[in-house]
Structure formats: structure tokens, C-alpha cells
């Protein structure tokens, strides 16, 4: 328990103190803000996919709904952005809770299909309801978040804001993973029948975690909208749901830090591959395949293997010294 906390504190310090000092200003900070947003989204999906073992190919829909609800409430109706953000998360959580019951009754590829269908429906509605959302050309003029006269209007300020939120979500997810709920979710993942026989209401729990994951995605969407100050439907399409799935699997299913690693890799990869110009798409595809073939347990597994190896060789030396 204590070690877990120490690990998290170390990670938080790295993110909040070391990284901004090292990357003062500049474009890379902007990318790191997106690493934060994507980490939050990946953790949300990981709760569902890695813990409860339920696939979702429609996660981008909740992200988009969060962004649009925030955008519309603040810009069109003049709501306080913080209030709008909370309202969006609650409303979208409730929506996920309601549709979760029929959707999560499905299993395997039917579940994939249903979540995918849901994602597409939301995308179409955002795209077509022009009067409300601005349609395909997007929704401009969303205000930055602010506290009093202090406005989160720079990359650095948003870095702290968004990473603060992401670290919060991370801590909550770590706590949840080590609680009775986390255990019950993993039990459902391993064998739903065995979990039910032990008195776990699998259906309700799955729906609850689905709603949680939707709320996290919605929160990320709101933060995104207030950071970029512009939203358009293409950001929230099917391809982004797939990208999130990739982050979670490449990072390591069921690992919170894995989600961070996956989100980091997938967000930074295009930046690194940019030097290849048009060829970057080929490298990207090839890398996904190669990584999965050689590290099927995800980056976190590779990291653990490397760490154990290092510790062993280091520990061995220490023993010799003594």
C-alpha cells in the first residue's frame, strides 16, 4: 500500500515538476498536454476493457459529447465552464448508465458492434445537428477555463490544469483497482459466471463502470474543448475510438501506468514519425504490429521485465559487495 503511494508520488513529481522545467514552453509542451488528455481517456477505457474485460469501440463518443456539451452550454448559453463541465460529466454518466443495461448484456464481438454503432450514431448526430453543434465546420469561440481573473489561456497553465486532473483520475483508478470493486471487476473479467455465483451483480457493476468510464471521457472532452477553444466532429470519429483502444492494449491491459505509457507512445509517435513525411503511415502501422507481436502484454510488461532484469543484476552486485 505504502509503496504504491510512493510510486504514484514519484510519478506525479516527475510529471508536475520535472517535465515542465525540462520542456519550458515550446511545442512539446502542447503535445504533453495531449498526452495528459489521452492518458485520462485511456484510463477511462482501461477501467472497462482492462479490468472488467468489456470492449468499447465507441469511447470517442463520450469524449465528443463531453466536449460539445461543455462548448454549447458555455458558449451558446453562457454557463459557468466549471459548472458546465460537471453537468456534462453527470449527464453523460447518466446516459451511459441507461444505455449500458442493454449494451452490456451483449458479449464479445456483439458488444464491440453495439458500442461501435453507438459511437457512429453520436458522431452523425454531432455532424448533422448543425443548428446546435455547427456541424462539420466545427464550433468556435469556446472560452478558456478561469478562476476569478486567472485564465487558463497558455499551454503551461493548461499543462498543470489537465495533468492535475489526469493525476487525480489516475489516483482514483489506482485506488479503485485495489478495492473490492476492482477485485470484483477482475473476477468478472476472468469468469463472469464464477463472479456471479459469488454474489457479484455482474450486470450492475459492468454498467456502473461503463458510466464511470464515460464520465472520465466526458471530463477529458470538456478539458479539451476549453483548452483548444474549438471543437469539430472529425476529432471524435471511429478512428479515435480505435486509437484509444490501441493506447490501452499497447500500454498493457489492466495497468494504470500502462495506459500512461500507451497514451504517451501513441501521442508522440506521429511527432517522431513526421520526419518520414508520407511514409509515416506505413511506419505507424508496422510499429503497431511489431509491438504487439513482440510485446503482447504491452509496454508495461516490457517495462516490468526490463526493471526486474536491472534490479536482479544490480541486486546481485549489491550482494557481492556486502
Amino acid at each position: 500500500m505504502q509503496r504504491e503511494l510512493l510510486k504514484f508520488a514519484l510519478f506525479a513529481a516527475l510529471v508536475l515538476v520535472v517535465a515542465p522545467l525540462y520542456f519550458q514552453g515550446g511545442y512539446i509542451l502542447n503535445v504533453l498536454v495531449f498526452v495528459g488528455i489521452n492518458t485520462m481517456l485511456a484510463i477511462g477505457l482501461n477501467l472497462l476493457l482492462g479490468f472488467a474485460g468489456q470492449i468499447s469501440l465507441g469511447q470517442a463518443a463520450f469524449y465528443g459529447l463531453g466536449a460539445y456539451v461543455s462548448a454549447i452550454l458555455t458558449t451558446t448559453h453562457g454557463f459557468n465552464p466549471w459548472l458546465a463541465m460537471i453537468f456534462a460529466a453527470l449527464a453523460i454518466g447518466a446516459l451511459a448508465f441507461v444505455i449500458g443495461f442493454p449494451i452490456l448484456k451483449l458479449k464479445g464481438h456483439y458488444l464491440a458492434m453495439a458500442t461501435l454503432g453507438f459511437g457512429i450514431i453520436v458522431y452523425i448526430v454531432i455532424n448533422e445537428y448543425v443548428d446546435l453543434t455547427g456541424g462539420p465546420s466545427g464550433f468556435p469561440g469556446i472560452p478558456n477555463l478561469s478562476i476569478g481573473s486567472f485564465s487558463f489561456d497558455s499551454d503551461m497553465k493548461n499543462y498543470y490544469l489537465i495533468w492535475g486532473a489526469t493525476l487525480g483520475v489516475m489516483l482514483l483508478a489506482i485506488n479503485l483497482a485495489r478495492s473490492r470493486i476492482g477485485r470484483a471487476l477482475r473476477a468478472i473479467h476472468d469468469s463472469e459466471v464464477a463472479a456471479q455465483v459469488l454474489g457479484i451483480n455482474a450486470r450492475l457493476l459492468k454498467v456502473q463502470i461503463f458510466a464511470c468510464s464515460a464520465m472520465i471521457s466526458s471530463l477529458a472532452g470538456s478539458l479539451y474543448a476549453h483548452y483548444i477553444t474549438f471543437v469539430s466532429p472529425s476529432t471524435f470519429g471511429f478512428h479515435f475510438s480505435v486509437e484509444l483502444l490501441t493506447m490501452v492494449v499497447i500500454g498493457g491491459l489492466g495497468s494504470i501506468y500502462g495506459s500512461f505509457l500507451g497514451a504517451t507512445l501513441i501521442t508522440l509517435l506521429p511527432e517522431i514519425l513526421r520526419t518520414f513525411h508520407d511514409y509515416d503511415i506505413i511506419f505507424y502501422g508496422a510499429l503497431l504490429m511489431i509491438m504487439t507481436i513482440f510485446l503482447p502484454g504491452g509496454l508495461i510488461q516490457g517495462g516490468t521485465l526490463a526493471w526486474n532484469f536491472l534490479r536482479k543484476s544490480w541486486g546481485g552486485k549489491g550482494g557481492a559487495d556486502a
Binding site: G108, H109, Y110, F238, V249, D278, I282, L288, P296
Partner: protein, 293 residues
């Protein structure tokens, strides 16, 4: 023009689009049944078929039937290479890993096509003219008849293959129980490779026969793949008639949706699909069965 004629047109248009979805869905189902993998690169096989057809016909100046055949053969070869270098190396495949690998594969193939043939849209000539054919107040093009004919032939072909040839039966056996099939001496690996050949070839054919009507470019695979995937799921991932009916149903739903509310037509189709899934979670056509522990 009266409402019945309009309706006939919607349904005919829907059926011809649906036939393509059915073919693509069949490709999904064949691979799923022999390997348990949902091959997200299936749409890219369709794209490869169309683009290779264009390449052999326009760039190499070959006759259409030869271009057709070559495109199918080369795409099937791509299927084999894909299976050999991306699917087989994974020692302990989990469904999730397979999803990522096939997604990676589809991105890779799309990139290859983009580099090789550019980002332009291309078109093939129709197989036999552009003169519209009237049918019960609606019109079709001869190419639509080709689409129907080839779809029907392929369905009958796969049906015969699965029930009357040794390889086909072996593949069906793999579908039922891979381990047991291995135990009775079926070379499971070869069957998996076969399934990739078969589905990439079917995908390629779909890609070529629609290219004269819908055009083709390096990025058409995503949407077609998605629709084919839906068709296969409505059909309960069966590599036979149910998937075909699933595709046709999807096509008709879309077409009717477009006739009544075009902006939301895909949404209409998907809402109906969701309702179907909620009430028939085993797919539309399979009988319900209890889950074994």
C-alpha cells in the same frame, strides 16, 4: 412517379449496395470462423482489389478480365503474406492483441497503397456498358447485375467449398473446434492460411466489381470494412447465408434511410441494428442457446 416505384428503387439500390457488404462480411466471417480473429484489415483487401484492378487495367493496359484475375491473385497473395508475417508470429494470441495487429495491418496496407498509387480516386470501366435497365418502375445498371451475379456465384461457391471439399470440411472443423481439428490430423495452420486466401480473394472481387460504380481510392477500405463487419455481425458471424442476408438488410436499411432522412441515414441503420442486437443478442438468425460453463 409514385411511391411504389420509389420504394422499388430504394430496395433495388439497397440490395445492390448490400450485396457488396455481404461479400465483405463473408470475408470477415471466414477468417473469424477459422481463427477467432476479427480481421480489421478486411476492408483493405477490398481496396487492394479495386486499386490493383485499376493498376493492371489503366497502367499496364491489360484486358479487363485479365486485370480482374491478376488483381484477385495478387490480393490473395497479400493475404497470405499478411497471415504469415503478422498473424502467425504471435505465440499466444488474445483477441485484443489480434484486433490491434489487424488494425496495424490495415493502416500499413493503406499506407502502401497510398505510396504506390497516390491519393487520387480512380475508376474502372463498367463490365458491359452503361445503358440503364428498367425493372418494375426502377432502374439498374448492367454493372448491378454483375454484382448480383458474382455475389450469388461466390455464395454458392463458398457453400459448395465448405460442404463438399476436403479442405472446406477441414476448415469447417477448425471453426467448430480448433484443438480437436488439430488432434484428428487437420493442419490447422494451413487452414488458417487458406481462410486468409479465401477471404482476401473474395474481398478483392468485391473491390473490383464495385469500382466502376463507386470509384476507388487508397482510403475506401475503412468504411467498406466497417459495413462488412456489421453485415457479418447481423448474420451472427456465419460464413454462409445469414451473413449475406445481414449485408442485404444493412444495404436496404441504409437506402430506405437515405430516402426518408438522408442526413441521418447511417444513424437510422445503426439504431435499427442496435435494437436488433438488444432483442436478438445472438445475431438475427441463430437460435438461442445457453452458455456453457
Amino acid at each position: 412517379m409514385n411511391l411504389t416505384d420509389q420504394l422499388t428503387q430504394y430496395i433495388l439500390s439497397g440490395l445492390s449496395t448490400g450485396a457488396i457488404y455481404a461479400l465483405i462480411g463473408l470475408g470477415f466471417a471466414i477468417i473469424y470462423n477459422s481463427t477467432g480473429i476479427i480481421n480489421f484489415a478486411q476492408g483493405e483487401f477490398v481496396m487492394f482489389g479495386g486499386m490493383l484492378g485499376v493498376y493492371f487495367f489503366h497502367k499496364q493496359g491489360l484486358a479487363l478480365p485479365i486485370a480482374f484475375l491478376l488483381a484477385v491473385v495478387v490480393t490473395a497473395l497479400c493475404g497470405v503474406i499478411f497471415e504469415r508475417f503478422a498473424i502467425r508470429p504471435l505465440r499466444r494470441p488474445t483477441p485484443m492483441n489480434m484486433v490491434i495487429i489487424t488494425i496495424g495491418g490495415s493502416i500499413f496496407l493503406r499506407g502502401v497503397a497510398m505510396i504506390a498509387w497516390g491519393k487520387d480516386t480512380h475508376v474502372l470501366p463498367t463490365f458491359s456498358g452503361d445503358e440503364p435497365i428498367s425493372f418494375a418502375g426502377a432502374t439498374l445498371l448492367p454493372q448491378h447485375l454483375w454484382i448480383f451475379a458474382i455475389t450469388i456465384l461466390l455464395i454458392i461457391g463458398t457453400k459448395l467449398f465448405f460442404s463438399h471439399t476436403i479442405s472446406g470440411k477441414a476448415m469447417s472443423a477448425c471453426a467448430v473446434n480448433r484443438r480437436a481439428a488439430g488432434l484428428v490430423g487437420i493442419d490447422v495452420r494451413r487452414m488458417i492460411m487458406f481462410s486468409f486466401i479465401l477471404s482476401s480473394a473474395i474481398g478483392a472481387m468485391a473491390g473490383i466489381i464495385i469500382a466502376p460504380l463507386t470509384m476507388t481510392s487508397y482510403d475506401v477500405g475503412v468504411m467498406l470494412g466497417l459495413k462488412g463487419f456489421c453485415a457479418a455481425i447481423i448474420g451472427g458471424m456465419s460464413s454462409g447465408l445469414p451473413t449475406v442476408i445481414g449485408g442485404l438488410l444493412l444495404g436496404v436499411l441504409e437506402s430506405l434511410g437515405a430516402g426518408f432522412s438522408s442526413g441521418y441515414k447511417d444513424a437510422v441503420a445503426f439504431v435499427i441494428l442496435l435494437l436488433i442486437l438488444f432483442f436478438r443478442p445472438q445475431g438475427l438468425f441463430s437460435r438461442g442457446s445457453s452458455e456453457r460453463v
